[in-house]
């Protein structure tokens, strides 16, 4: 597993490297002292795992993740951060408290390996296994693309629907659409993208429009222009 360490203190990086000597399955391919360095490093190096300190000079750890199009498996490292720890209550992100206990590190790596195996199973589903980092106010999630059923315009942002959550992503819908596979996420109208795997049925609506029923019971209007394209997509 190729890993990158993002820590602003050199000694903290040395400490983590020392601890990782006991884990030959993790290969540290780069180190960064701030978010900017980390971003450049991540764009050049193939990375499976990110050890990330939350408090960094300039942009912090959350901001780094928000700027990434695709998020590798992340293990947060933090000294003591009431705010950050609070945000983890809502989801399954892993974090380590500094100074790090070797047993705790071993367990986190085990979990990361399991997550990586899950991600790699089935090459055609790779796109749906991509994960994005979402932070809305105090809460944050790492969301699997396959779990998102609707993406909706909200000003310059995008509201995403998954499970019973609807947080905002700080990206425009057009930006996201360009990066998503068109046969997986379909543009039904100006406002919305829909995950085709969630479509449960199609009804005719007035004026040649179509109405989609999702597995969750939600309905989505398809504009006349897009209705034709949708028929083609679904026929395939």
């Amino acid at each position: 597993m190729k890993a990158i360490i993002v820590e602003d203190s050199r000694l903290a990086r040395v400490e983590l490297l020392t601890l990782l000597q006991a884990h030959p399955e993790v290969e540290v391919v780069g180190e960064a002292a701030n978010a900017e360095e980390a971003k450049i490093l991540l764009s050049k190096t193939e990375t499976d795992l990110l050890f990330l300190d939350i408090q960094l000079p300039g942009a912090n750890g959350f901001e780094l993740l928000e700027a990434l199009d695709e998020v590798p498996v992340v293990i947060f490292t933090t000294a003591y951060d009431a705010y950050a720890l609070k945000s983890f209550e809502y989801n399954a992100l892993d974090y380590l408290l500094k100074p790090i206990k070797p047993e705790r590190l071993a367990r986190a790596i085990e979990k990361a390996l399991a997550q990586q195996i899950q991600r790699q199973s089935g090459a055609e589903r790779l796109d749906l296994e991509h994960r994005i980092f979402v932070k809305d106010g105090e809460r944050c999630w790492i969301v699997r693309l396959g779990d998102i059923r609707i993406l909706e315009v909200y000003g310059n942002y995008t509201r995403i629907y998954f499970e019973d959550q609807r947080p905002l992503v700080l990206r425009s819908l057009n930006y996201l659409e360009e990066r998503l596979q068109p046969d997986l996420f379909f543009r039904v109208n100006r406002q919305q993208l829909v995950n085709v795997r969630f479509i449960a049925g199609v009804d005719n609506a007035l004026g040649g429009q179509l109405r989609l029923r999702l597995q969750t019971g939600e309905t989505v209007e398809v504009s006349r222009r897009q209705a034709l394209k949708l028929r083609e997509t679904l026929r395939i």
């Binding site: 903290a12 400490e15 300039g58 003591y80 100074p99 790090i100």
Partner: protein, 354 residues
Amino acid sequence: MSRFSPFWIAQTGGWALFTVVNLALQQSVKFDFRWMVIEVMAGVTGFAATLLYRQLILRLGWQTKPLLTLILPVLVASVLCAALWSVAFALIAKPLMWLMALKELPFFHLFLGVFINGVIIVIAWSALYFAYQYFSKYTRNEAEKWRLQIALRDAQLGQLRSQVQPHFLFNALNNIRALVLENPQQARSMITHLSDLLRYSLTSSSHEKTTLEQEIEITGDYLALMAIQYEDRLHTRIDLPEALKPALIPPMLIQLLAENAIKHGVGKRPEGGSVHIQVGRQGDDLEIIVANPGVFSPGVPNLDDHLGVGLNNIRERLTLLYGTRAEFQITSGEGLVRSMVRLPLEWIASKPEA
């Protein structure tokens, strides 16, 4: 209630005075011992009637009621009390006059003789009684308020106790852990710095002050520990004139200012920066300035909210300890943020003013 309480002194003294004045007025016209007895009886029955009246007041709890709502009840009660007094007087005076062979007056005459003046006297008695009650309640309240204020100030100061921040502490421990392998000698000295800082933080109380010399030493410990976190990204300089070393300041004040400066001026900047601590004298005031690179932007929400809390902590402690005689300002300009604290110069007891 003790027999020597203000009420009993006033009650006894007041009615004695009433009797003496009454006697003087009557006897100056025509001296007669038998009439003196009758006059004394007027005073004694008045004394007794107002005692009963007071029992009524206590029974009804009037002394705790708002003064304005009492005006009418007190007027009615005063008339009743005066009537009781007059009846009692007449009942005693009538047989006494007969016994002493004085010219007998009708019962109604005797009654009216006391009642007319009696109403006014009992109203005056009521006015004095309630005025005293009100006044003593007011002073009691004032004393209580004052006592509560002191208790509150102590409690607030206790809460404002500055402590080493957990984030800093665990980062320091993590760094030392790496140093143990890399540079054992330096690791040992860092453990000493951390011990000194922790001891100081745990034992210093926010009620007492500390010398500048000690505070600067502890700030030095803190900066040494921050230097292994930031290494070449952090530069520090401390200017403290020798003469000011025995001056007194609230503990952890400069440490907290330095922490704030590092967080903003170094921690948030990838390129790092330098922190400059300057202590000087301005007339009768002590002036502490901590400067760091950056631009001051109050109210910007950030991850580590405790710093805003820390600055408020400084402000509140200064107000509680010095009132308006202390000043705390943060200004920015020329790429620097300056935190300035100005407080009255105080010295440790043995040191004469320089």
